[in-house]
């Protein structure tokens, strides 16, 4: 059970990343959903995963969370790392009478004051006594943010929060997360379909298509042809797109040559 730690500082003794993968490979059947992926999140850094559908973004996040076991390689975390997870969506069965306030108190022993503070920080104080089934997708995302904050996270992990949220609500959510990062200095790992929304608030972008295609600062990645292939509405072309780096894709999307996964950096 994740009891709150008395000190926020055991992780400050380490200077390396909060969480990282070493040649992480995950297979569903014979298909490698993740193929020797190396990704790291540093303290205070916002890392955004982009890539077409089926690129393994969600699987990578789930592996970092410990919800998917690696078939090869490793997932590593700092000792006692506290992860605040915001799932893609969450729907609570209609049969369960549950207010937002109560929902927030389910995950660890918390005081009413701390719940109130988390609601405030996520901007959803007015929803405290609403039934969780009656709030909108965007509101639920912010409630999930409040829930994650109650765990005093060192690392915030978000999976595609854009699906149930309109563009405006999405931008506001990312603003809030950016504020949280400023205030708390936690790292953020997020999955996004739309780089534009997160661009200004991201330190590093990792472009994933089973393997790491490229990674770097958002402005570098957005100038990269592959970014246009992905976000110019031609995501399907990715598999046959010829990268000007050290590997190519076979017809099934498999990588033909090895590479270090940082190919469009610098």
């Amino acid at each position: 059970m994740s009891t709150p730690h008395p000190s926020r500082d055991p992780s400050a003794l380490f200077s390396g990343p909060l969480a990282w993968t070493e040649d992480l490979t995950v297979r569903f059947g014979s298909r490698a959903v993740l193929d020797r992926v190396n990704v790291a999140v540093q303290p205070g850094e916002v890392v955004t995963l982009i890539g077409p559908n089926g690129a393994g973004k969600t699987t990578l996040v789930r592996a970092v969370l410990g919800l998917v076991a690696p078939d090869g390689g490793r997932v590593l975390r700092r000792p006692n790392l506290r992860i605040g997870y915001m799932p893609q969506r969450l729907s609570v069965d209609q049969t369960l009478p549950l207010t937002v306030r109560r929902f927030l108190a389910l995950w660890r022993p918390v005081t009413a004051d701390r719940v109130a503070a988390a609601l405030e920080e996520a901007g959803v104080t007015r929803l405290a006594d609403s039934a969780v089934q009656t709030i909108s997708g965007g509101e639920m995302q912010r409630v999930l943010l409040a829930r994650a904050l109650l765990g005093e996270p060192d690392l915030l992990v978000l999976d595609e929060p854009d699906q149930a949220v309109d563009v405006h609500g999405q931008a506001e959510l990312f603003n809030r997360i950016a504020q949280v990062r400023q205030r708390r200095g936690c790292g953020v790992l997020l999955v996004s379909h739309d780089l534009h929304t997160v661009m200004a608030r991201t330190d590093r972008v990792v472009c994933l298509n089973a393997h790491v295609c490229c990674s770097g600062r958002p402005e570098d990645v957005s100038r990269h042809p592959e970014y246009h292939a992905l976000f110019g509405g031609h995501a399907r072309d990715l598999a046959v797109y010829v990268h000007h780096h050290d590997h190519a894709h076979a017809e099934d999307g498999k990588v033909v040559h090895d590479h270090d996964g940082d190919c469009c950096h610098g």
């Binding site: 059970m1 994740s2 969450l90 049969t95 369960l96 009478p97 108190a105 660890r108 829930r147 765990g151």
Partner: protein, 261 residues
């Protein structure tokens, strides 16, 4: 009032009290059919108890838990849907129980009492089992309450928060098995699930919190036991089914009450 009536009320009331919170979880976790499957296997447990010369309740616990574990193992293979597997295990184990019972020719068992309950023949020993087992089950449920709710809301979130999700699910199955073992005598194995889910379902509309729903389910269950037993005594009706009819009637009444929201 006759002593056997008092014992019947105490027994039924104790079961209903326990069934309120546990039945609420059965409703929240959509496990009604699962509960049915476990209770149908109880007859096999009774037979096993007789064969091995142990208390039938122990036999019921053993068989229910084995069945729950078998189900978890079968679900991992994913070739068949959960309701199909439950149907196979439910009817397979009930029939196996009936067949095994028929083999015990020397034993004279009142089959109807096991299938539909025999609440008017509750003994002091039964009462002790109900209140002892009930106290254990309620204590266990209270200790696990918050975490079981968390797992019910979202298993992934609970896992990321470091909760032992599989152990919690197993503990919940054990609690259900315990309730089946001690409630068998009251409403019989064919009707136990109704005592779990009908009061909880009736309480849903009026509840704002999980605890409120569980408490109201207990109250409604006790009301159903009292009403059903009195009807049974007055008009010479079968006890267990009368209790279930009373619970269903309360459900209907409750769904007719207009709510201001």
């Amino acid at each position: 009032m006759d002593e056997f009536v008092i014992r019947a009320l105490l027994a039924g009331g104790g079961i209903a009290l326990l069934a309120g919170p546990l039945g609420s979880f059965v409703v929240w976790r959509r496990m009604a059919y699962f509960g049915d499957t476990l209770s149908h296997s109880a007859l096999l447990g009774v037979t096993l108890g007789f064969l091995l010369g142990v208390n039938p309740m122990v036999g019921v616990m053993v068989v229910c838990v084995s069945l729950a574990l078998a189900l978890v193992a079968l679900q991992r293979r994913r070739h068949l849907a959960a309701d199909t597997l439950l149907g196979i295990l439910s009817h397979g184990s009930l029939s196996l129980g009936l067949v095994a019972l028929a083999f015990l020719e020397t034993l004279r068992v009142d089959l109807m009492a096991y299938l539909f309950g025999d609440i008017l023949s509750v003994t002091d020993g039964d009462l002790m089992a109900i209140y002892g087992g009930g106290a254990v089950a309620l204590t266990g449920l209270a200790l696990l309450w918050r975490r079981l709710l968390a797992v019910t809301v979202d298993e992934d979130l609970a896992r990321v928060e470091g909760m032992p999700v599989d152990a919690l699910r197993l503990a919940f199955m054990l609690l259900i098995a315990l309730v089946i073992a001690i409630a068998m005598k009251i409403v019989g194995i064919l009707l136990i699930t109704s005592l779990l889910i009908i009061p909880a379902a009736s309480a849903r509309r009026f509840a704002r919190t999980p605890e409120g729903m569980a408490a109201l389910a207990s109250v409604l269950g006790i009301l159903a036991v009292v009403a059903g037993l009195l009807a049974s005594l007055n008009w010479d009706l079968p006890g267990g089914p009368s209790v279930v009819v009373a619970a269903a009637a309360l459900f209907l009444l409750g769904s007719l009450v207009p709510l201001r929201r």
